[in-house]
Symmetry: C2
Subunit: 190 residues, 2 copies
Amino acid sequence: MKFCPDCAAPVSLQVPADDTRPRHVCTACGTIHYQNPKMVVGSIPVWMDDGEVKILLCKRAIEPRHGYWTLPAGFMENKETTRQAAERETTEEAGATIQLHELFSVINVPHVHQVHLFYRASLLNKDYQAGVESLAVDLFSEAQIPWDEIAFTTVSHTLRAFFQDFASLKNGGHFQLHEHEVKPMLQTPL
Amino acid sequence: MKFCPDCAAPVSLQVPADDTRPRHVCTACGTIHYQNPKMVVGSIPVWMDDGEVKILLCKRAIEPRHGYWTLPAGFMENKETTRQAAERETTEEAGATIQLHELFSVINVPHVHQVHLFYRASLLNKDYQAGVESLAVDLFSEAQIPWDEIAFTTVSHTLRAFFQDFASLKNGGHFQLHEHEVKPMLQTPL
């Protein structure tokens, strides 16, 4: 941010009175422009295929991570709830009709100022189809998941936690809320 | 938003190609300036007093809701995690030392573009003190909670859910994740 969105004067980075962090403050009107993390919200659409659990993934048609697979998810919009965001993104990216269940994962990605939320969901039929942001949409069993082609760490972590919890069900386990933090990738050592 | 934060030219509200919602788009450089919900994160600091559960509340020294009581909470900052935000706000507003436990409530407030998260926490000692944004900080049993003077619906909902879950513990119940949506207050009928 270089200019004030309210009055177009230059902003400067300074710590306002009663604050402890540098903020973008307008040099003319004095407005403080706070910047805060964004939420990315999605679903884990589940289809039971002859007793085998399968998950609906989307192949990304957009950057970042064009061509990689992801759970349907995207930036939450103003005026909607987290559940509405999860359903909207699943419709937009996968053309899928789902029933949402509990919140399953809350994954912080502080180095990019994001928090990712994924809800468990039941896929209600197989009439899914790729939206404009997807190249393809398909169902994958645990053995079929293209682990090396998953777009984001938040998605691979959520998928692994899902299959782990699902496997525990037959021994009396249950789905839990999974909290996790993704750290920046380390540089390759020289 | 009236002017582009990148180049100071006027922005106009328009639906970009491949989008479905009006966005603030710069009339000169074309940058799309998205606006998304913000997260408010806090804690439920618990103190056990001779077997009775008490919660630490802060009396607000700032608007909105000056003079009303709240759980320690505030806007999540860039570069931090939700847990770090909960701990920071508890330190800043209540001078309290806590140990964080599980995420307890996720409350959507879509009409103000916010999602509120509260974590259960143990207050580790009674050396708390009001920060600059608080007039007072005090412990309240369920019977002592000033229900008519609670600052925000998200806080009263979280407190009621907490006491309900806590009461269930002696019958084999447990703390659950509580999801809720706050609707705008209806106008008083004429």
